[in-house]
């Protein structure tokens, strides 16, 4: 699978042209088409709270604000010989994204992290969680390395690939291999649970580490066959903390993970590693979705 077309979802306050520029390196991996999507949340233009009517003037104003930004961005991309499309829709974010995915068939969705409050997320789920669960294609949750607000210059240059050996993780590996022209070096990690190491024998503990390391080395070899430099790392402990730690230690440009197959309710109340990292990490996160039937074949 190549990234020929990406869907760039923006509210303008989160993702702007600097973000988009940082992704243009993907042209080396076949990117040729960018589709912009701006969703004006229904609440902003509803006549009455919860009502069906729209304030026409407010809608026109917000659409034109988006249009002016998109025209400016599009001119830049057109001048590079790229193809550009745009949607400005009133509605609810995730369904509108899925509609654009259906219409445009992009290979990647790029979106900023969720702006919903913690309480709202708990009851209705975050946009990102919902999107991860429903999207048929990979999602890049973009971050500005929050504290200094700097956009990573080349997000795909040094990804940290966190694998749990699931079918979705293997799908993520496959996806990364297609990006060999943009990826400089991959750090591949697996986090072993502390529970697994509960043994009175040092030998047994070392054996587990060795097994994990061997699997990771095998995966590195696979990447090297695609001319991608890869390094293996075994971590022990809480996956969320350890993945974030590894991303810092190896100066990752993004974190790559396969998403889990937990149910909506389980994910909302118990959380998942993917969701937590996508929401909380300061690093951009590339999430490869779990798709029921297809993933079984891998």
């Amino acid at each position: 699978m190549k990234i020929k077309k990406l869907l760039f979802v923006t509210k303008f306050e989160d993702l702007c042209f600097d973000t988009l520029s940082s992704l243009l390196n993907l042209r080396k991996a076949d990117l040729e088409h960018v589709v912009f999507l701006n969703v004006i949340e229904r609440d902003k233009v509803a006549m009455h709270r919860g009502g069906d009517g729209f304030l026409k003037e407010e809608t026109v104003k917000l659409k034109e604000i988006a249009n002016i930004r998109f025209i400016d961005w599009a001119e830049n991309l057109f001048e590079m010989g790229m193809e550009v499309g745009a949607y400005m829709e009133v509605g609810t974010l995730v369904p509108q994204i899925l509609n654009a995915v259906e219409q445009e068939k992009p290979d990647l969705i790029v979106i900023g992290h969720s702006h919903k409050s913690v309480l709202k997320q708990l009851y209705s789920g975050s946009d990102i969680t919902e999107l991860i669960r429903r999207s048929p294609i990979p999602i890049l949750v973009f971050k500005h390395m929050e504290k200094n607000n700097i956009v990573p210059e080349e997000p795909f240059k040094n990804p940290l690939f966190a694998t749990n050996w699931s079918s979705t993780s293997m799908k993520a590996a496959k996806y990364l291999k297609t990006l060999k022209n943009v990826v400089g070096k991959i750090d591949i990690m697996h986090v072993t649970s502390e529970k697994k190491l509960k043994s009175s024998s040092t030998h047994d503990v070392q054996k587990i580490r060795k097994q994990e390391r061997k699997k990771l080395d095998g995966l590195c070899d696979d990447f090297e066959e695609y001319d991608i430099d890869a390094r293996a790392h075994v971590y022990i402990g809480d996956p969320v903390k350890e993945i974030e730690k590894a991303a810092h230690e190896y100066k990752a440009s993004m974190i790559v993970m396969g998403s889990s197959k937990k149910s909506e309710l389980a994910e909302r109340w118990m959380g998942s590693i993917t969701k937590t990292i996508a929401d909380k990490s300061i690093f951009p996160c590339l999430l490869i979705p779990y798709t029921k039937n297809k993933d079984k074949k891998i």
């Binding site: 589709v35 026109v60 249009n67 002016i68 998109f70 025209i71 599009a74 001119e75 057109f78 001048e79 590079m80 010989g81 193809e83 550009v84 499309g85 745009a86 949607y87 654009a100 219409q103 445009e104």
Partner: protein, 130 residues
Amino acid sequence: MNKKVLIVDDDDDVRTFLLTVLEENNYTPLIAHDGIEGKDMIEKHKPDLVILDVLMPRGSGIQLFRKLKTDDSLKKIPVIMFTGISLKSFLRSQKVLDEFQNGKVPKPDIYLEKPVEPEELIEAIQKKIG
């Protein structure tokens, strides 16, 4: 018989404006909402003139314009580009694409930057198809 003018634009308000102006001036308007529908309508109806937006879903006006102008059966249909994208940017994009695709595509017959007054639009249309 009235001449057929195809409007390819994703914006409701723009389509309504064009539709009204065309009908008031005895043209038969046809409507397409995006690049793909635009191409299908051109092939199906062979309009006398196309008014083409650039930034749209499902295929930009730039690609559709190039398809039109490189198709022997369609290239004689005059095109009025009607867009918010500046002419300068449009021409730069054409230059890059000419190099990529190894073939020069002619300039659009008329390039109008949005918004325009109805008189300006009608004058442009009349200039091309009477």
